[in-house]
Symmetry: C2
Subunit: 451 residues, 2 copies
């Protein structure tokens, strides 16, 4: 018996996972490589950033998702290069030979050549981004509560979201909801209801992928909840405490970048031709030009649909591509004919605006408001992986809906920040606390009946 | 009408919260200062470190807990000093005058004069500690799956817990359970069942606060689940990849410190007399000697019970002290007589060992095994704050109990680590990915019907 073909998949996002699943019963040996140990359900990441959900609600170990797939192993490693001549993927955890390679490495934030804006306006792609944005928003309110100067308080409670696509709309709506509903009872000196949320879009309307009436509805729905929407207004500079719009600096407590994405490094690895966003221009079967054994899918691939429009960088497109490439590799391994060229089927667009408001475009059927919000909620719970997560997320939403609460309002520091006492002590006090302890008591945390 | 007395509480742990609550209807103005925005339920922190619970299950915004208490404000700030002459608490967020001061600043890890061990064997006091320990344990298994060398694989899957108190016992049992039950189906090359878990205690038995038969049971129960218990064995050195025990270096994948605690800096702030663990020697009414308007409670106070034994550094003691000081301040504000001296009532001790095993000592009633485990679970769910958290934690436990799963197996990086793609790309590739993006696509994450 010949050794089965080796398939290497790089990336455990929607595209990579779907490829792996499509190969479940194929006579191949699959290796899935990701730099993180978890798949992140990006569509709900903004709810982690705005304290409704916990990281574990929207991120699950890739190993656990695929554990029953016995022809597959998962590797947590950083890919550093692809040697297409030797058919080897190089990583910091060793080299991996392939007979077929699938690059599903996604996209990252793009600052239009202004990478120096990144520290001042983080984007939202990873769990770590979400907890960092959550930290910045919540810390701004904490500092505002302490600020004596009204101007400084106003700055701290001004939040700027750059980019009027779905992520920007969802973030702006969620921040406004949090400020108006969840926070007010908890503060004494600052009134979170007076927080400003600015949503800035360079184009002429929000949600450009949607029909114009739904864009208009979105704008009005956001404005009703207090969000200030600026259209046709490109941001020209972002600094540590301000965003420049129309030549005027707007002081702010936190800024978030939701304006642009760029493809991963796949095109560099392959030295392949790319589009303006850095995506590999793939063949009709999603292979890289001149490399029939290398496929590029998802946000890092550039291809046009039957209508001549670009296939959008959305999860359903990545999943369809993953399923297609999986089937193609399976057919090759079985010596069967290759399937016809990839065809993207656009099923519709969804975006949520906030409590009881969303927009849905299914082509003929268009929904907005409460009905769209219910549709959006059900669709997202349905597409979560695993009953456990569905129950947990549905419960969190129901609870927060009824109580107006936000469960996950944690400000956590980077793990490598100076560790210190559980309670309040000054940073300058920590060393002396340690050195003053000539000897130490026995640990007895949790060793007692509560009373 | 005279202005109401100003009460400042430093620390939002068990003691500080209980003091605040006891002052709910008192004619005083309360300010609660903590360096973090959340109260951490430390008794369950080990379950965050071992991936059963999420941070938001065991940590809740202090503001939200106390939001209905209208005579109270919460301040997130680092205390840098206390001026007892001027009656001012100095913080990085400004100065706070007090008429009565309550220091409930807790304890931190103590390394017996070996602070250089801290980076190699973190302790478990804060949410950030728990996610860091979780990261180290899970990363060790990931690296072991990639390690070609059997010796290196053995090192990576060896976990050392230093300290045989409740935290050490709970961590060792939970790591063993995770390795035996949750991880095996997910790995291909490494067998997590073969992971070694070492629990090292310098004293002659585990859980020294418990009766000897329960200590013996705990040891046997741990050994049955594969934990290697070393008694009378002090650790003499800890390095980046090893722990030295009995003169022999044990290579390990992760080490955790659960051996000692030292009081916070309260004694330094007050320049007060302290015990060997750095705790302030307080008066019978918990005030600091010579400072009747300053109280020190919880893990940072040193006082003896009626039996002459030291009041242990456990949550119930902190809560009782908080309630006492709250009542005392309330009586003072009302011009009433002070209550009789503080009396600690020890209600018992609990510790869990792992799935279906725990020990409970209520004096006359002693439980071990399954019954104790049920008692432990119910008690801990009961003492969580808020129905929301009780439901969430009980659901997580029930689910994991049935499925042997671990929900929160996330490896997350420090927030200030280089942000990068959601999928696997090399660290060296990130800059080129960014620079290769001459222009960028429109963000459309989540803008689509899933398919």
């Amino acid at each position: 018996m010949a050794t089965p073909p080796r398939v290497v998949i790089v990336g455990g996002g929607f595209g990579g996972l779907e490829t792996a699943r499509a190969l479940e019963r194929a006579p191949v040996e699959v290796t899935l490589i990701d730099r993180q140990n978890h798949h992140c359900f990006q569509p709900l990441l903004y709810q982690v950033a705005t304290a409704t959900l916990s990281p574990a609600d929207v991120a699950w170990p890739i190993r656990a998702i695929l554990s029953r797939q016995l022809n597959l192993r998962v590797v947590m490693a950083h890919v550093t290069a692809v040697d297409t001549a030797a058919r080897v993927v190089r990583t910091n955890g060793g080299d991996f030979r392939y007979d077929q390679l699938v690059l599903a490495t996604g996209a990252t934030h793009a600052y239009f050549g202004h990478e120096e804006w990144a520290p001042h306006a983080p984007g939202l792609k990873r769990i770590e981004d979400a907890t960092e944005i959550r930290r910045r928003i919540l810390t701004a309110f904490e500092l505002a509560e302490l600020a004596g100067d009204p101007q400084e308080r106003e700055r701290l409670t001004t939040f700027v979201v750059v980019g009027g696509g779905p992520t920007g709309v969802e973030l702006a709506g969620a921040i406004a909801d949090m400020a108006r509903e969840a926070l007010p009872p908890d503060f004494r000196d600052v009134d979170p209801r007076r927080a400003r949320v600015l949503l800035i879009e360079a184009g002429s309307r929000l949600l450009a992928a949607f029909p114009e009436p739904l864009s208009d509805y979105t704008r009005h729905a956001l404005e009703r909840r207090g969000v200030e929407v600026f259209l046709g207004a490109p941001v020209t500079e972002i600094g540590p405490r301000f965003v420049v719009l129309n030549g005027r600096a707007i002081p702010c407590g936190a800024a978030i970048w939701a304006a642009g994405v760029a493809a991963s490094a796949a095109a560099d690895w392959l030295q392949a031709e790319r589009d303006r966003a850095g995506r590999v221009l793939v063949m009709p079967d999603l292979s890289a030009p001149g490399l029939p054994e290398v496929f590029v899918i998802g946000d890092t691939a550039s291809i046009r649909s039957d209508l001549g429009t670009p296939v959008p960088g959305v999860a359903p497109a990545a999943k369809q591509m993953g399923r297609y490439v999986g089937a193609l590799i399976k057919a090759r391994a079985a010596g069967k004919a290759a399937p016809p060229p990839f065809r993207y089927r656009h099923q519709g667009d969804l975006a949520t605006i906030g409590r009881q408001a969303a927009v849905v475009n299914l082509g003929r059927l268009q929904l907005k408001g409460f009905g769209a919000w219910i549709f959006w909620s059900l669709a997202h719970v349905y597409f979560l992986i695993g009953l456990r997560n569905r129950i947990s997320v549905a419960f969190s939403w129901a609870w927060d809906y009824v109580t107006f609460g936000r469960r996950a309002r944690l400000i956590t520091e980077p793990a490598n920040a100076p560790s210190a006492e559980s309670a309040a002590t000054g940073p300058s006090a920590s060393p002396s606390a340690a050195s003053s302890a000539k000897s130490a008591g026995v640990d007895s945390t949790s060793a007692a009946v509560w009373g």
